[in-house]
Each structure stands twice: as C-alpha cells, then as structure tokens.
Symmetry: C2
Subunit: 386 residues, 2 copies
C-alpha cells in the first residue's frame, strides 16, 4: 500500500427533507449568492424549498450555469460576487453548478490578474470563498470533493483544478430529487460514477484489500441499482443508493493508498471540449478501447473485477479479463449509452490528432498509472474509438 | 435508507515514516502534552521518533495511561494540563491512550465541578482542547472518530462519551509499529475491529447497498489478513491492511443510514468493568450468545454475511445464518481468543445479575437495533456465555 493522507471535512447531510436544515448550516449574517443551472430546480420544487429555508437571509441569485460550466459564464458570476460583496455561495445543482462554484470560490480570492490562470497554470487553491451545496443530480461526487472541471469553448479547452480550500462546507443530498431527473441524466450519472470507480481501481494489484473491496462494493451497488432507478426514479431506496454510490465513488476515499489511472478522463475531456458530448458518454467511448490497449497491464485487476463483481468463476486470467471489458461496455449499453464516437458525430476524422495536440499543450504527455499513455497512445486509443 | 449526517474532519496521515510530519501538523507556539501508556513506545522506537520530530517544541510528558483508561489516572493528567497551561495534546498509543486523551480534551474545557459528570450524565462535547494522535495499536478506530470509553474501578464502571468536539485534528498511522505489538494485542485488535463492523452490520436488511458491501469488505479483509499478520507482524502489507481495516471499521462511515446494534459492547463493557478482561475478548464472549438469542431478528443479515463473506452458496436462510454464527465464533478461536466467561474467571456465578443491575443504573434498559435487549435479556445472554 502507498502512503496517503485522507482529509475530507465536508459535512454531508443526506436524506429526505434535509433542505430545511439550510438555516442551521449558513449563518444569518452572511450575504448569500445562490447559484444554479438552467432552471430545472424551478420545476422540481428544489428552488422553492431552498428559498423557503433561506427566508430572512440576504440572497442574490445567479442562474444559467450550463453543463460543462463555461468560463465566460462564471466570469459574469464573479462580477456579481465582487459587486454584491458576497460572503457565502450556495450551489444548487449537479456537478456542473458545483464545479462552477468551486472555480468561483477560488477566483473570488485569487490575487492574479486573470482567473483563467488558476486552470491554465494548475494553481492549487488552499483557501476559497466558503460555499455549500444542495445536490440535484447524483453523478460527479463534486459535492464531497475538492476538485472541479471548467470549460472554455472559444479555445476548446476543458481543464481541471482543485485544492484543500475547495471542499464544500456542507452538502445536502436529498434523494427525492432523483425522480425529477430526465432518464438521460440518470444514465449519465450511473455511468459517470461507475467510471470514476474504474479509474481508481482498474490498474494493477497492490494488495490494498479494503480499498479494492470498497471499489468493488460501489460498482456492484451501481450495477444492482441501475435497472431499478432507470425503471422507476421515484423508488426512494433505489434513488438513495444511487446517490450515495455516486458520492462515495469520488470523495477521495477509494483512491487512498492505491495507484490510479485517470487517463480515460483526460482523453475523454477532449471529446467534450470539441463536440460538447455529455461527459459520461465520452468516458464510455474511450474506456473500453483504453482497456483493450492496456490489456496486459490491467488484466489482473480486470480478472479480479470479473471474479468479484461479475461472479465469473471459470476461465484463465485473460479470459476473465476479456469478459470484464465486454461486460463494462455492455453495462454502458444497458444504460442506453453509445460507446463509439461515430455514434455522436459524423465529423470525427482527424479528431484524434487534435486531441493529442491539446493534451500535449496541457503537458498531459504521461498519463495513466504507469505514465505510459503518451499523446501518441491517445491517438491510437481514440482512433479505435471512432 | 435512514437519513444521516457524515462529518469527519480528521486529517489521517497513513504510511511509513509519517511521524516526521508532526512538525508540520502542530504549530511551534503551542505547549504540547505528550500522553502515552505503559512505556512500550520507549521500546519500539516510536517515543524517540516523536521526540525527534518535536525537537524545538515545549513538550511536557504524561505516561502511564493504562488499558481501559482509568478516571483516577486521567484526573492526574488533567492537573498537569491546567498547571502547565497546555495548548495541545498528542496521544501516542492505542485506543486506551487516545480515549483517555479525548476525555481530557473534554474535561480541560468542562465548566462543571466534577468531570466525571461528562461520563455519568452523558454530556456531549462540542468543543474540546485540540489534540492529535500517533497510533501504535490498530484496533479501536479511536484515531478517526469522536468517541471514547473511560473506566472507574472504584465503582466498577466503564462508560462511553463523545461529541463533534472530540475528533483528533490529525492521526498518524504508521503500520511499521505493528511488528512490535505482542501477539495477544494483535489478536485483540483484529477481533475488536471485526466486532465493530458486526455491531453496525448484523441487524436487519434495510437495502443500504453500499454500506453493506463496505462492511462485508472490511470483514473479508480482516479474515484474509488475520493469519498473515499473526504469522508475521513484520509483513508491511499485512500490517497496513490490518491498520486501515481497523480505522475504517469505526470511523463512522459504515453506520451511516443503517440501524446499528451495539448491545454486545454495552453488555461486554460490564465484564471488563468487573473482571478487567481485555475489551476484545469480552466481545467474543458475549457476541455468539447474543446472536443465538436474537437469531430470528438477525437471520437475514447473518445469511447475507454467510453468502457474501464466507461464500456459502447452499442451504436455506436458517442454515446459512447458523453457519455464520459458528464461523464467527471459530474466527475468534482462530485468533486464540476464548469465548466463554468461565475460561477467564472461576468467579462467574451471579455476575449476570450484577451486570444487569449496572446496565439498569446507567439507563441501558433498551439496547440493540430493536431496543428489546432489556437487562433481563442481558442476564439470559450472559448466563449462556458462562
């Protein structure tokens, strides 16, 4: 096992009717900026619940944060934060709204000239403007970690940031919101969380017994809950398991002491940056081909996954490992998610090279648990993903 | 799934040579009280490592905190804290030293006349004197939770306390210490952690998929690692898995959203209070009989344990559940732990009634996940444990 540090001070408030606790979580003397996305919270009742809980507070609103939160939009929100002298932000939404809020948390206290530098220069944030979240879309785990991803369309970039100053003070996770989420986004959430676990698990054996069992446990749970939550999003128990699995998939716990990959995410970000394809779907496009390419390096963990998660008891390591890759791709398909780039765009010729150039520009030239996913390798993986 | 809140701000620093980080974890202007137990840290090198890391600090020492930390001893330490105007405590030891330090954290800021009230009146601690820990004995999980248990021999009491003010600021867990731990204490640690998981898992099904998988994962890991760590405590990987499993068994995570039992602990505390038997061994005495007594209520989870942890695929629910109880008792035996009170003392006649009286005095009259373990039931369980 590798050395590690685990620190996660988020106060996670999970369950039914927890939004009413907002008034005990935010002090009344703070001026609050409430951030949200395209307005779905006004249809599903969350907006009203939050406003009611914040009755008597000085609240400013900023809506319209889009999926894959856009730098230009966030810069408008930053202006509001400064003009209105905001003390505390409340992100009400999914991973995009929360990630956007994390960028703002950092940018609000950034002393440089251009907040884009936080992303472009990979500056870690040790202290940010305080914020909390009300989660409306289980998927990214952003509600209980200190990372974020922000896009900038004008230059086709999607970049990551983070730091210990970017943990939410609290996150309210009420599974009853799941019933109002469109099927497409539920499928994305399951695929996203499942892939998060794979990025932290599917490397090579290092004898980390508990971490492996936890990762396998989250994936088993997602496989078990996926058909239930897809069939009936108003099934509270299914929704609660879905939501909790998504949070645990990326709150930092399962990666402690083990090697992690994340090359699939870095390559897949390029697809979203170029084509605007949903994040989860880009992962499903890249992952099966990446695992085929790295079959020799990953086959032992692939086989372990087959044994423990899929209950495959026969065959040698290679057969079990192949079975695992097929089953993972079939799991994406079972969620209604296509796993070939050509199923999303006709304009894919030459994309692999563009993606490789972008990765090179960002210094992402040694990805994966062995640092051997070069931009050239990314080209090979992406060309097989067409 | 039940509603829950998860909050655990402990900065956990895990791995080889991590004690050197003490100087970055404690600010130099703080006067430090270093607390430890019977002196084993002076033999295994931990004392020297800590002193070296704290070179240049103003450090006062208090040694001699015993297993099942004793109120009278801790009151002496409290005197030192007040006389020396201590700012920060560093617990260097196992669960007993850490639990004792938690009591001191609370007592140092307690405004009542008699700190015993914190235990006797079950007063929650919202703010304590800050402290960190260097763990030398994996078992109780105290390094990453906010609970403690303190004994007072003169009145045969062993009482629990806790509160959000009692999380360590940091805990350093270096698995290399395991090689110096006596076999008896390693066995106790495995049994203790294993039983902690059972108290949070072996109740009734509530459809909490991730929590169940996590609990099963910790227990599977402990079963896998137990023979390795017993055979060779200098096996670093085995030691690291043992240590991490113990921490995860009782840091609050696996109990979130699920019913918990804890009646075994409450009844077993009475055995330690009366006979001074090691905590882990008292659990092994009480648990099998408690599960036999509550067979109908627990049989579904017992069967699930048999299926998933023991890989039992045949038999009906009752058969699998019986198999589970037998296997748990055999696991204790495999660690060299006896599971009958008569194997620890000849003076057991009438003890069950005394224990029941003590439980009644403490108001523990409705224990277990259904609140149906009355003092009368405790008598029945204990008499079968003779």
């Amino acid at each position: 096992m590798k050395n590690f540090e685990l620190y996660n001070p988020v106060n996670l408030v999970f369950g039914k009717n927890q939004i009413t606790k907002l008034s005990s979580l935010i002090s009344k003397d703070q001026k609050v900026l409430m951030l949200y996305g395209g307005g779905s919270i006004k249809k599903n009742g969350v907006y009203d619940q939050v406003k009611e809980a914040l009755d008597g507070y000085d609240v400013v609103e900023f809506g319209g944060i889009e999926a894959n939160p856009e730098f230009e939009t966030l810069m408008k929100a930053l202006k509001v934060i400064k003009e209105e002298k905001i003390d505390f932000m409340l992100a009400v939404g999914g991973g995009s709204v929360i990630d956007g809020t994390k960028f703002l948390s950092s940018a609000a206290l950034y002393e440089g000239d251009d907040p884009w530098e936080i992303l472009a220069k990979r500056i870690r944030t040790n202290k940010g403007l305080p914020f909390g979240t009300v989660l409306t879309l289980p998927a990214t785990g952003s509600e209980m970690n200190s990372g974020a991803v922000v896009s900038r369309k004008e230059i086709n970039k999607k970049l990551a940031m983070g730091g210990p100053g970017l943990f939410p003070q609290f996150s309210i996770c009420d599974p009853t919101v799941v019933k109002s989420i469109p099927q497409r986004q539920i499928a994305n959430g399951v695929a996203d969380a499942f892939t998060h676990v794979l990025e932290q698990y599917m490397t090579y054996p290092i004898g980390a017994l508990v971490q492996d069992r936890f990762s396998e446990g989250i994936m088993s749970s997602l496989i078990e809950v996926a058909p239930k939550i897809t069939a009936d999003p108003s099934d509270y128990d299914a929704a609660a398991n879905f939501m909790w699995a998504c949070t645990m998939a990326l709150n930092g716990l399962i990666q402690k002491g083990v090697p992690t990959d994340w090359s699939v995410h870095m390559i897949a970000h390029e697809i979203t940056a170029h084509y605007g394809v949903d994040h989860a779907r880009t992962l499903a496009i890249v992952l099966p081909r990446a695992y085929q390419y790295k079959f020799e390096e990953k086959k032992e963990k692939l086989a372990q996954f087959a044994e423990r998660v899929l209950d495959v008891k026969t065959g040698n390591i290679e057969e079990k490992a192949s079975h695992a890759i097929t089953a993972i791709e079939e799991f994406y398909h079972s969620l209604g998610i296509d796993t070939k780039l050509s199923e999303y765009t006709e304009d894919y010729e030459g994309f692999a090279q563009k993606a490789a150039e972008s990765l090179t520009q960002q210094g992402m030239v040694k990805l994966g648990e062995h640092g051997d996913i070069t931009p050239e390798v990314a080209v090979e993986i992406l060309e097989k993903s067409y």
